[in-house]
Symmetry: C2
Subunit: 412 residues, 2 copies
């Protein structure tokens, strides 16, 4: 008898996470090993609560839903922020999950998410190994932050980078119009890694020299050096644009906007205000006309400007996860290995979950200029292939058409 599968999504939204879901659905439909594919609502918590959607049925109901789903931002199945206990600490938690797996004749569980989700998948695979369960556990990467190790990059990053670079180019056009010195500071997401902020450099072209300054969390931030950098650039270029990571810290590791820091369940600091802090600094110390802009959550959920390269790859990583579990593999995350920048070529493989969870891939220091205020050509060449191509979005009444999510909407 063919087994069924469960898929869930977790962590923060991206523009590509539903493309990986579409890939998993496609993979199961085209597999002779699996029968049904159920989507758990709100991540692993949907498994506990037995809240499932029959996704094969869904894909039959909507004719072209798989590709429509791929173009829809954020989690179609909803998300959760739930930290699983260790199997040894709470075996009953795991027993509950695996009892449900058995009850539903589940052969494979797919978790699409970032670092914390890979931690959950890893723990599930440990428990499966300990108890001799034959349920295969697979992680599928997603995170705009691009901070997962053992993969060339993560789906979601390319679309976010495309949105950031496009926004930076449009901000440049907005900035050059006045004939007086101006500083524009753009705060970009990225708590511990500077990949997203670095992608601002892709806005540079034959006429646009901005952003002239880029500050990543990988390099200790000095207020004095920053003010020197601004002073030097404003004389030469008049309109200066700065890309700055929300996570910049001084040499003692203190966030530049420490007063706003608080901590979430996973012990991550929640930040806001690096851009605002630097805006006030420029105003107070240099007296130059200055503004700050926070790109905020639109950089992760702007589905109308997804990267086709990103979406295509996210689908393939989902399909491959199904293929690999069907071949008997478990405890892995699908990952990409780049074999060439131009033309962009990559292979898809498996990375052991035990080597991924709770690690962070930061920008290599050799891809940051010695002055610590810009990125090198190598970093631009790395990002460039990931933002190529656009989706052909349907529009209705002037707005992009996304997949309906009635199961997530609470109405009075």
């Amino acid at each position: 008898m063919r087994k069924n599968c469960i898929v869930a999504q977790s962590g923060g939204p991206t523009a590509a996470i539903n493309a990986s879901l579409a890939g998993v659905i496609n993979g199961v439909i085209n597999s002779d090993k699996y029968d049904k594919i159920y989507g758990a609502i709100h991540g692993i918590q949907g498994v506990f609560k037995k809240q499932f959607i029959d996704l094969v049925e869904l894909s039959q109901e909507y004719n072209s839903s798989i590709y429509h789903l791929s173009a829809t931002p954020a989690m179609y199945l909803g998300s959760c922020r739930y930290k699983m206990p260790l199997p040894d600490e709470s075996p009953e938690t795991y027993k509950q999950i695996f009892d449900i797996f058995e009850e539903m004749n589940v052969g494979a569980f797919f978790y699409i998410g970032g670092n914390d989700s890979m931690d959950t998948a890893h723990k599930l695979s440990i428990y499966a190994a300990q108890t001799g369960s034959d349920v295969k556990i697979a992680g599928i990467p997603k995170t705009i932050d691009n901070d997962l190790v053992n993969t060339d990059h993560t789906p979601g990053f390319g679309s976010a980078a495309k949105y950031i670079a496009t926004s930076m180019l449009e901000i440049a056009h907005d900035t050059y119009i006045y004939d007086l010195p101006t500083v524009t500071i753009v705060e970009i997401m990225g708590r511990d890694s500077g990949w997203l902020t670095a992608s601002a450099a892709l806005a540079r072209n034959t006429y646009n020299i901005t952003p002239q300054l880029i500050y990543l969390p990988e390099v200790p931030f000095s207020r004095a050096k920053f003010l020197d950098d601004i002073s030097e650039n404003i004389t030469a270029n008049k309109n200066v644009v700065v890309a700055v990571s929300e996570g910049i810290r001084n040499k003692d590791g203190e966030y530049i906007c420490a007063s706003d820091a608080s901590y979430d369940n996973f012990g991550h600091a929640r930040l806001s205000g690096a851009g605002k802090t630097l805006e006030y600094l420029v105003k107070d110390k240099l007296g130059i006309k200055v503004r700050s802009i926070e790109l905020n959550i639109l950089q992760r959920c702007a589905g109308h400007l997804s990267s086709r390269a990103d979406i295509d790859e996210a689908i393939k990583l989902g399909e491959s996860a199904v293929k690999f579990t069907a071949e008997g593999n478990s405890g892995f995350m699908t990952s990409t290995t780049r074999t060439s920048d131009t033309p962009y070529l990559y292979t898809i493989g498996m990375s052991d979950l035990s080597h991924i969870a709770n690690q962070i891939k930061t920008v290599p220091l050799e891809w940051i200029t010695p002055e610590g205020n810009d990125v090198t050509k190598e970093l631009i060449d790395y990002i460039k292939p990931l933002i190529q191509g656009e989706l052909s979005h349907s529009f209705r009444d002037g707005l992009p058409v996304y997949m309906d999510i009635p199961h997530l909407v609470h109405r009075s």
Copy 2:
């Protein structure tokens, strides 16, 4: 001998102001009355400084430049914020300008801009009338705020409204993913009029009920009522999204974020922080998970998501200005009169500049619900035709291709 023309742009950027410039260039090229069309760099100040670009030459140099220009956000010619003295106060200022007009054999001057720009155009036309000059003066409207009187709406508003509605829909997808009560507050531009904030309502569709609450500057804002509104909605809907204008004021006319207010040359208050202020209010008083998002300048310069209806109309308003001056008219702003919502039909005419400058068109109170926390169907029907259609953008290396602006970029 055929006369020449000068065109300039002023005020804040929009996604459609270059489409009106393209319309003026088109109009002059196709006119048998005019010869050259010069673009003044940085608004009226470019006239004083005699900084001009030959735009006919430009359009010959770049094959399809007129349409390429239409798709480029912000001012191709640069902008200025220069308040003209009254002709009686400083006749020498006007003499200087009209001497340059005569020297360059100018028959018509076109100023594309908002309220302050129409003020400048109006003063120039007063001086021309007083001195018997035959230079025709025409204004062409643009402002994302949609606050000019005597025209159905202003170019630039439709594209901004499309960006805002799309962003609100994407924020909705980002908001529904968690299975816990959340409040998301989105701050939208609009100092004195709520048109832009109202356009957030267009994000609602068959599955998306957000934003549930919309607050415009036309209605006095009460913190107590706001907290009641949130409490009522959070119980019923779990995920509440609020659209709020940057310009909301209490019943005494004080901005909700008064501490941030300062004043620019035109006596307008510069605001920031209405969203942040309400975020802290919800957090402190209700203890609900809350975040605030400021759409910021991207709502005016996101050329990749322009409304085709908006761009097409902006071109026509530019072309018509040339036609009207060629017919001997002066001292007018081109304007639209709507004759039908569905299908959307309008005519283009002239509004006397003396009735436009320094007036503000606010949202009619009958288009705001009696509770003051939402807009009516009439307002949605008014905005809907203005966000229809998309441009076919060229992309290169993953980014939209805009017109080069080397004349605005200062390099070291």
